[in-house]
Amino acid sequence: MTRARRDPRAERAAAALPGAARARFDLFARCAGGRPRRDPRMEAAAQRVDGAARLRLDRAQTGRPAAAPAPSRAEPAAPPAPKTIVMAAPAFLVAVVPDLAAGRLSPHDRQLFGAARTLAGADGGVIALAGAEGAELGPAGADRTARLAGPEGYAPDARAAAIASTMAALNLRHVIFPETPDGGDLARRVAVLAGEPLFADVEMVSAAALMRPAQGRRVEQRAAPARLITLAADAVAPYAGAPREARDEPLEPSAAPASAILAAERIPADPARTPLALADFVVSAGNGVTDLETFRAVAAALGGTPGASRVLCDAGLMPREAQVGASGTVLSATCYLALGIAGAPQHLQGVAGCEHVVAVNTDLHAAMIERAGLAIVQDAQVVMPALIEELARERGAFA
């Protein structure tokens, strides 16, 4: 934008004082529309923070006098208690089918509720179709919950049939699955059972359109929200509003189809063989661990996959595959036990996805201690034998 051109003659004429015998001008009078004059004293008064013992100025307040005094640090305003949102009669329902692995909502499951809320808008309700009881569904964003009855054990066809019949019974507008091995499998079974197209691996959700990658991420496909959707991980923010009521919605039990699966047996992971990226529980050693024999014994006794910081891998004390961090492996573990690790940012990046961290370190101010849910400020060389001893004692007490 170009600045308006000044016209000195017109400015001068506007500043002329009438009534004088000779021409007189008030050159201090500002022409209208010019920059207002600043008053530093008044600005400082407006920036003053009330209630503080010594003078404090909030420099973010520029010019305008503050409408309300900023709350002082001494007495923070208590946030209003969140009220449960009750939706009496939603115009339509959007269903979410969380994995609920081990009966708990994963971060990916929570993101489904965020997507469902976007698709439900103001008048729709979100219903969670859960196989198991879940107390956290209301805070996660469910207006209704429905229990899917089904046979125990591995019976994906029965679950798919239950979801397909619920879809018809409740006239669900959308059903959202996580794009995980379990959720993705279920979504595809429901899609062929109901004869509905599936919009898989969605990476962007808005009320009007969905986006998914195709052709090996060469193109993106955009379409109006389909009825069956699987959602990619970390694409949509989880629901962050006030808790919802999660009222129980009674469902007619449907007959389970005959299954051709004769037996299914879950084989737990062998921690010693599991690749680090897949491991559920990682026991990791850093530069503070000198007794690596004991460390390996601890990892085996706890049933964790052994990991290490870069220092140990560079020194050849641990294999390179064991390195945790930005230039090693980024973990997806539930729990990380860090023995003698300082917690450099490059290391912490590898641990970012871990839900729980336990740290043993002699330094109270180490970053790893700050990150940990349980921090032990003690020599790792004495804690490790104590762990083995304690586990042996438990086993001995039973025998």
Binding site: G195, A214, G216, A260, E265, A352, Q378, A386, A397
Partner: protein, 261 residues
């Protein structure tokens, strides 16, 4: 055991050139352990799947189909006639629509059971039964015994594909099948608008909206939520060990002590 391996016209994930998808090459290796296998491809051109001959298949059946047509009715018609015991497919396509729906739709058409994410398969202890191993997240697995016929989709953790052998590729044959286009109603397709893919930043878990760079770094390294951590300063080693074990049991990564519960 009669085995069919579904071969799609994939694209290499980096170069974008036509290539046999890795999962389907792994499927050929799994098929070799089960019995005599034939490849099956539906599409305008069979040259793209000829690579599969060098990976261990001796014969590929090719159903000519217009580009962009739904392959499921044609594949279902061929498989119904051939009646294989096991159909092996990739868990997702690579370079097409990549929805992973083809194996499920075929299983429905054939009345077969789908077992996804398979890493190993062998004939069961009695006839008419197959035993497969499924990969689960976090390194776990599931051993499933199922009645035939089955459709298995292959997981990336299955054994590496066998090496390409040029002589084998020359000896292998591609046979063209003519299938009267069956009048099965194709599943209603979704009208999509396509454009080239634009990578978007991944959502950052736990990062506050509109936070500063320091907040984002904290969210990236996972700090923040554990501000009120349970810190034990210089505890007795035994006390520390007990606290660690109790914490691990509370979050469920360690089995409860023997004799408890």
């Amino acid at each position: 055991m009669k085995v069919a391996v579904l071969l799609s016209a994939g694209r290499h994930p980096v170069s974008g050139r036509g290539a046999l998808p890795r999962l389907e090459a792994q499927a050929i290796r799994l098929a070799a352990a089960l019995g005599s296998a034939r490849g099956l491809h539906a599409g305008p051109d069979a040259d793209v799947v000829a690579e599969a001959l060098g990976r261990g298949l001796s014969q590929i059946d090719h159903v000519a189909l217009a580009a962009g047509a739904d392959p499921v009715p044609a594949l279902a018609a061929v498989l119904r006639a051939a009646a294989p015991d096991v159909v092996l497919a990739g868990r997702r396509g690579q370079g097409g629509d990549d929805t992973g729906l083809v194996p499920y739709a075929l299983a429905r058409a054939l009345g077969a059971t789908v077992i996804p994410d398979v890493v190993a398969a062998r004939p069961g202890s009695e006839p008419g039964v197959i035993e497969v191993e499924q990969a689960l997240p976090k390194g776990a697995a599931r051993r499933v015994v199922a009645r035939l016929p089955v459709v298995l989709t292959v997981h990336p953790a299955a054994p590496e594909p066998s090496a390409f052998a040029f002589g084998q590729a020359r000896r292998g044959r591609i046979e063209r099948l003519d299938v009267a286009a069956p009048a099965e109603p194709a599943a209603a397709a979704i009208a999509v608008a396509e454009k080239s893919y634009r990578p978007r930043p991944k959502m950052m878990r736990g990062a506050p909206a509109g936070g500063s760079a320091a907040d984002r770094l904290k969210a990236a390294t996972g700090g923040g939520e554990a501000a009120q951590a349970n810190v034990m300063v210089s505890p007795e080693p035994r006390e520390a060990a007990r606290a660690i074990l109790a914490y691990l049991r509370q979050i469920g990564v360690l089995a409860p002590p023997p004799g408890a519960g």
